[in-house]
Symmetry: C2
């Protein structure tokens, strides 16, 4: 949005960097590769959505889903950012950030302690989704983004539930990924220090499912959940 | 910051709610209990920090630590929010959000799908930490917040590393927690549907540590890491 990037076809392999997607520090950790961005977004389902209210920032955790080059966020029609997006004809300026922490990097020096992570930051204008078909597809995508295959194995939203749910969309145009991977980067003169150094990988995945006590008799755990 | 809350001693059991810490929806999920807020903050180490740049929101993942009623965030002296906080005499308006996802709530209806989570949102003004002693304590706290006991078992920052690191502080004054716990809340008429329903708890913790290949001979895994 700062300066005018040249027009790019949607199929370009990278998101064109802009003034606000090029970091001032560690530029080597920034990436604009479309497939990498998609992979990071698709691995998660909770984002942190930032917007401005009365001149001050607000950051809220919320679910999201990606459909092609578009992200969707949903919530109650009464929630503040969703109402604000609905009122803003030009769209609501937002920043949507997704972060995966992969490991703790413990160096011999306090200064070189770090975290292995992969994050995506999306800047743009969020728009209220008013088309009923797009809204329904977005809600299915939100359920399937958390548990692939789940939307088809649940009772779809009825008219009243659809009316109580607001959906906003954010196009993937001004996007960057940032990553830190690998091991410890200590100073050469610190290598002989007696401190343990290495990486602590975070555990991922799920513990055993806890069935609702009122399950209809004979309801088995579906394969798409057993696979998680 | 909206309206003037009555003065409260720092030892009050709750953070006084304000206009922006009372949610417009699901107010029953909001909490202001100081001990609960501290527990949520102390369990994590990655926050999402929001600030406003050129009128638009920016949300970045970063490490934080709590020391009493104060949060600290650090970064390169070249990073944008840290530079902005240093320039702003009155402090930089920020929103710092910490979220733990505890489980997926799979209901029989798409509408009642949810996520069990605990989050804390802190609004306030971030200030550059200029006192060298406070800065050093904050950096120790940042290391110990990720791995308790680690600060004492690593080489402390030297003068050059301290000079390259900026630290900002944010007082815990305008704070709220939000939680969703428990099981599935389906509509009574959906209970007989044949869809599996229940909670998928997220796995927590760490996988086996990966030692740096260049560890000094005889360096054992310290007990504070084995305990994780």
């Amino acid at each position: 949005m700062q300066g005018t990037p040249p027009p790019q076809p949607r199929t370009a392999a990278v998101y064109p960097p802009t003034g606000r997607t090029v970091p001032t520090r560690s530029p080597g950790r920034a990436a604009y590769d479309r497939e990498l961005v998609h992979a990071i977004l698709d691995e998660g389902y909770v984002c942190h959505l930032g917007f401005v209210r009365d001149g001050a920032p607000v950051v809220l955790p919320t679910l999201y889903a990606r459909v092609g080059e578009r992200l969707y966020v949903h919530g109650s029609t009464g929630s503040r950012p969703l109402r604000a997006a609905g009122r803003a004809d030009a769209g609501l300026p937002v920043c949507l950030t997704v972060t995966h922490v992969d490991g703790l990097v413990l160096a011999r020096s306090a200064f070189h302690h770090s975290v292995n992570y992969r994050s995506v930051v999306v800047h743009g204008l969020a728009h209220d989704v008013t088309d009923p078909e797009e809204k329904r597809r977005a809600l299915d995508a939100l359920v399937d983004h958390v548990v692939p295959g789940r939307a088809a194995d649940s009772r779809p939203a009825d008219r009243k539930e659809l009316a109580a749910t607001a959906v906003i969309r954010l196009d993937l145009e001004e996007v960057s990924a940032k990553l830190r991977t690998g091991g410890v980067n200590d100073e050469p003169e610190d290598l002989a220090l007696p401190h343990w150094a290495g990486v602590l990988p975070l555990r991922k995945g799920y513990d055993a499912p806890l069935p609702d006590p009122g399950l209809a008799p004979g309801t088995a755990l579906p394969s798409y959940l057993a696979a998680l």
